[in-house]
């Protein structure tokens, strides 16, 4: 066969060949899980990618606190805590029985190192703003940490439960990206680039010992390949399954458990407001009115997603339903564009990361823009390019992206975030929220923040995405909902 034909045939057959068949779950203590994306590194304290947290958080790395399945803050490396001085002083009793996988003991010095590193001026921590309120960290005893804040922070314990707040040891912090060393029950066994990452259970763990001794995460972006791998028992589960049209294949099959839960994932069409014409509110409102979010939810997510009108999702107890904001109205969108002086035929670039949702939604956005006389230029990107150009340097016009972090309204108050959103009213509201300790006042302020983002159309908010996972029916302990991106392997076990 001539080489071009052979190459093209290989390309067409690629999806069925990309999965190097992992071993079937023949033994009761191993697990093969499919994920869409391979992480660029394994250090959640320096990398923003969700794929990092999906693998290492709560498995390799742990924080002072953690979130349970319902999103409540629970003790982890901090056994308990007390709050004093009007919310400014936090005292933590530490679990000094914990240790890093290289033998380094966990104590207050680790807490001080980790949080000082996260809040340092040259910190690469993706959530560095979380630690800005910290005024000092002191260690009265190895098992006792005192953190003093410059002002009360209603979200402080919650933010400590994030992967970005993971405890790291001084000797290994610099190499965690490739050789992660944490206090969690699992260690990195191997990383086959482009294929899989395997974690194995640490030796000499304290009870309770996790039932799963070895877990491999396989990176399979193509839904059809993933479905075939599940069907062929080469995967025991797939988290955040990207194609809802294929779910019916598994929902009636007794070999599988399909979990459709709530998640904090917000699908947005992000607009770079540091650039014209997106710095004009009329243009942002026009773009929001130009698209039919209900049609997008049906077309992309088969009605498994929920239309939203601001940067929050219904699983948040403080969620404000703004789905009726900026309804689909082509005529209104055209009027607004005309008022803003945006000429017909103007090209709008849409950067698309390499995900199923981005490409499908990007296709639909292009059709909607054409209806109002604009031309979409879709720019597919690989993750490193997206993280560098869009997220890192804000060198973009618009992008379709799913924000996976829960309760992350703080990103709109960050001065150099990639949205380029600056609103003094919002900033003042957020500062007020952060220092408020009364739950009722917090609730009201959180909803005002959502309303302000909708009123100023900070981005085009499309939908709250569900957490859809498909599991072998013999597995137990999986989370239905996802309050924060993670896959807690220690909770899983096989039924006999």
């Amino acid at each position: 066969m001539p080489r071009p034909a052979l190459a093209a045939c290989c390309a067409l057959l690629a999806p069925s060949l990309t999965l190097a068949a992992p071993a079937a779950a023949a033994t009761p203590d191993t697990l093969n899980i499919g994920l869409q994306l391979e992480p660029p590194s394994l250090d959640p304290t320096t990398g923003p990618a969700e794929a990092i947290r999906d693998i290492v958080y709560d498995n390799v790395f742990e924080s002072l606190t953690r979130l349970d399945e319902h999103g409540s803050v629970q003790p982890q490396l901090a056994k308990r805590w007390s709050i004093a001085d009007g919310g400014r002083r936090y005292e933590f009793a530490l679990d000094t029985g914990a240790s890093f996988s290289d033998g380094t003991p966990f104590d207050c010095a680790i807490v001080k190192f980790s949080l000082d590193r996260a809040r340092a001026p040259d910190s690469l921590n993706p959530e560095r703003a979380f630690y800005a309120p910290i005024a000092s960290i002191s260690c009265p005893a190895p098992d006792h940490a005192v953190i003093t804040l410059s002002a009360p922070d209603s979200e402080f314990l919650y933010h400590l439960a994030w992967a970005a707040s993971a405890m790291v040891a001084p000797a290994t912090a610099a190499t965690n990206a490739q050789h992660p060393v944490g206090t969690g029950p699992y260690v990195l066994e191997n990383w086959k680039r482009g294929s899989s990452i395997t974690l194995s259970r640490r030796e000499h763990l304290r009870a309770p010992i996790p039932a799963i001794a070895r877990v491999s995460f396989h990176f399979i972006a193509d839904p059809l390949t993933a479905a075939d791998a599940l069907d062929g028992n080469r995967l025991d589960g797939y988290v955040n399954f990207p194609n809802t049209d294929m779910l019916s294949r598994f929902q009636g099959d007794p070999r599988f458990t399909v979990l459709v839960g709530r998640s904090p994932i917000k699908l947005i069409w992000a607009l770079n407001e540091a650039r014209a014409p997106f710095n004009d509110l009329r243009v942002r409102l026009a773009l929001a009115a130009a698209i039919d979010r209900y049609a997008i939810v049906t077309g992309y997510a088969n009605n498994f997603a929920t239309v939203i009108g601001s940067h929050d999702t219904p699983e948040d107890p403080d969620y404000l339903d703004l789905s009726a904001h900026a309804p689909y109205d082509v005529g209104h969108a055209q009027d607004l564009l005309r008022q803003a002086g945006v000429a017909a035929g103007t090209v709008i670039e849409i950067a698309l990361p390499p995900t199923d949702y981005a490409h499908k939604v990007g296709d639909m956005l292009a059709a909607y823009l054409a209806q109002v006389g604009l031309v979409a230029k879709l720019v597919p990107m690989q993750w490193p390019q997206w993280l560098g150009d869009v997220y890192g340097h804000a060198n973009y016009q618009t992008t379709v992206i799913a924000h996976t972090e829960p309760r992350d309204l703080d990103i709109y108050a960050r001065p150099h975030y990639y949205f380029g959103y600056h609103d003094t009213v919002y900033d003042a509201l957020f500062a007020q929220y952060r220092t408020t300790t009364d739950p009722a006042a917090q609730h009201a302020l959180w909803q005002k923040l959502q309303q302000r983002l909708a009123d100023t159309q900070a981005n085009v908010f499309i939908a709250a995405l569900p957490r859809i996972s498909i599991w072998n029916a013999r597995l137990r302990g999986m989370w239905r909902d996802e309050p924060i991106p993670l896959n807690r392997i220690a909770d899983l076990s096989w039924t006999p």
């Binding site: 071009p4 093209a8 067409l12 690629a14 039919d292 077309g299």
Partner: protein, 266 residues
Amino acid sequence: MNRPDPRLLLGATCLAGPIALALLSLAWTPFAVNGLDIAHRLLPPDAAHPFGTDGFGRDLLSRSMAGLRATIATALAATGLGAAIGIPLGITIAASHERRSAPLRRLADLVFAFPPVLTAAMLAALWGGSAAGAVVAIGAFDVPVFARIAAAAALPVLAQDFIAASRLAGRGPLGVLWWHILPNIAAPLIVQASLQAGIAVLAEAGLTYLGFGLPPPAPSLGGMLKDYQSALGAAPWLVLIPGALVTLLVLGCNLLGDGLRDRLAR
């Protein structure tokens, strides 16, 4: 009386439908190519939508027509590019002293070593996926193919007395090439061009499948295969129809090439 070669007829028949649809799409499609109609998503083929609709309610016939246009245009442009560079190169090699043409031969070998997928990936990394990138990638691969065929066919022609006579009569190298060599080596080149066009169709589909060809939202047959493959179970027509169109084009080109080869050899 010569009876037409059945492969010629069959090849032409295979190509006629897709080419007609592609040409028609320049002026008309039943629905807007990218028009959304969510209420009518994933409809199987019926009278209103003879090829059915996709997950966004887009009419698959309209998208297939536009996709055929893109695929055929890319295949023709790539084959034309390969021929336009490869044929003069091959004749130059044939006309030159073996030692002087050695670098050109090695260059052709080097280009031949790069499959279109690799070339297209490099071009996409530099400038993003585009139809032009696919044309260059496939066309570059075609250059040494045409050069070899042209060189092999031109060598015996160059040894003919009428070539020397033409030179003595004062015709320059380009004149000799155009008036004497090309007409005498046209038959194998035409056959090869039809075969290369089939290969180019398959390569274009592969490149767009991989994201190195025509960027979305413009429809392409390879892009449709990629986008719709996950719906194979629920809506098989979404994959079968673009796949069948690619098959028809490739089969048509190959049959046409085989038929032409026999016909022109008589």
